[in-house]
């Protein structure tokens, strides 16, 4: 072993991978659980792992979206392909585990089954509202079906879906998304086949609106800041970050609330009294779901997918 390598080994020190040590050090705190948004802290992991999980949540956790749109009639002013695109982007409340993957090797007429496809239909026709008051100018009163929303998409259970989806019929996660505006005489009639996909293929398959992390802020006060100065110091940070104790000294109360504005650094009086840093192994994840799955489920799936990736590669033979 060369001299360099021994030095490297020493510098690696307790950096050697040890599952038990990792288990001891790893900390996960779920700080906020909402219907759509979840906040969680992942502490004592490396950036590469946190980033892998974030990337997987955005682009590799499967979800269901409309992929094939069959337009039977469209006399609206919006082109077929534009309507198809808009319907594809509508988030659907479907548990992705209930569907299987589409087999693209099969011919078109055998590809879609009740196990891998959900059929939605949209049949709307705009007509005049004869009861509307004479001086009215509001199209939603003047006409029936002037505005077509995501809630107008009707779920059409196929085969055994009648039973399997009985407890949770497929609806849009956001029913008030506007698809099109019509005028009397115009109509849209279409069928949408919704399948499983991943965000890497198309953003409509991404189960999250955003999945991001930031590092835990660290504010180090190197010199005591007292009195009026402390009050000005407090004002440099978002509310709740800095507090003043009984000795009239500023102290860091909750660094997590800090947004990393560099406001303090603009003030001459705080020069060399404060250092702004980040905790490099403390990740604050913010996961906002599209509505089909909970954020916790998405995070858990991302961990499983990362493991599957490693397992798949491990089981693949290395060819020359």
């Amino acid at each position: 072993m060369s001299v360099d390598s021994t030095i490297l080994n020493i510098s690696q020190g307790d950096n050697i991978w040890d599952a038990n040590k990792f288990r001891e050090n790893l900390e996960i705190n779920i700080s906020k659980v909402g219907e759509r948004e979840t906040n969680l802290d992942l502490i004592n992991v490396d950036t590469s792992i946190a980033n892998a999980l974030r990337r997987i949540m955005i682009s590799e956790v499967p979800s269901v979206a409309a992929e094939y749109i069959y337009i039977l009639n469209n006399t609206s002013v919006i082109q077929d392909e534009v309507i198809a695109q808009r319907i594809g982007l509508i988030p659907l409340k479907v548990d992705p585990d209930r569907l299987t993957w589409l087999n693209n090797d099969l011919p078109e007429d055998e590809k879609f089954t009740d196990e891998n496809t959900i059929v939605l239909s949209l049949n709307v026709k705009c007509t005049r509202n004869l009861d509307a008051p004479k001086d009215c100018t509001d199209p939603s009163i003047l006409y029936h079906n002037a505005h077509i929303y995501a809630r107008d998409l009707k779920f059409e259970p196929q085969g055994k879906q009648e039973e399997t989806f009985a407890d949770s019929p497929v609806v849009s996660a956001d029913p008030d998304i506007l698809i099109a505006k019509l005028r009397p005489g115009q109509e849209i009639s279409l069928r949408a086949h919704c399948i499983l996909g991943i965000g890497a293929d198309h953003a409509k398959f991404s189960p999250v609106c955003t999945a991001s992390y930031r590092l835990m802020p660290k504010i180090i006060i190197t010199e005591k800041i007292k009195g009026e100065s402390a009050k000005r110091f407090q004002k440099c940070f978002p509310p709740g970050v800095i507090d003043i104790n009984e000795n009239d000294e500023a102290y860091v109360k909750d660094a997590r609330k800090d947004t990393m504005t560099r406001e303090v650094l603009r003030h001459e009086e705080f020069q060399d009294k404060v250092k702004l840093d980040r905790v490099r192994n403390h990740f604050i994840f913010n996961i906002e779901t599209v509505g089909a799955m909970s954020a916790e489920e998405i995070f858990l799936k991302s961990v499983k997918i990362l493991k599957n990736k490693a397992e798949y590669l491990k089981n693949s033979p290395i060819s020359q």
Binding site: W17, R55, K304, K307, L313, K314
Partner: protein, 128 residues
Amino acid sequence: MSSAEMKPNEVQEDTVIEEVDVEMESTVDEDKIKILPQATSEDGTCASFQIMDEDHTLGNALRYIIMKNPEVEFCGYSIPHPSENLLNLRIQTYGSTTAVEALQKGLGDLMDMCDVVEEKFTQRIKEL
């Protein structure tokens, strides 16, 4: 039960097992990973691999975990071109292990790490 009745049953079972075997073989992905001979030393302590259909997600995580192996001198990855879905991985060891072994250990360690994260996370969910 007579032996005559048993026979067809056994035969049936055998054929079922064979079918499963055939299916398993066909699912093994031969093209997933290959070793690049021009960048590999004869004793196998240094090697470069080319992995299909992977990106920074696995590349960086794998690089990190392989570097944690004290027998590994260097591990790095690159994506040669953004429009090709390939990942190149380079491993150089100090000589006490081969690059292939280091890669296998890295993948195993990464799986263990995922297990720990999953276990901790499910535990936290239960506590909510």
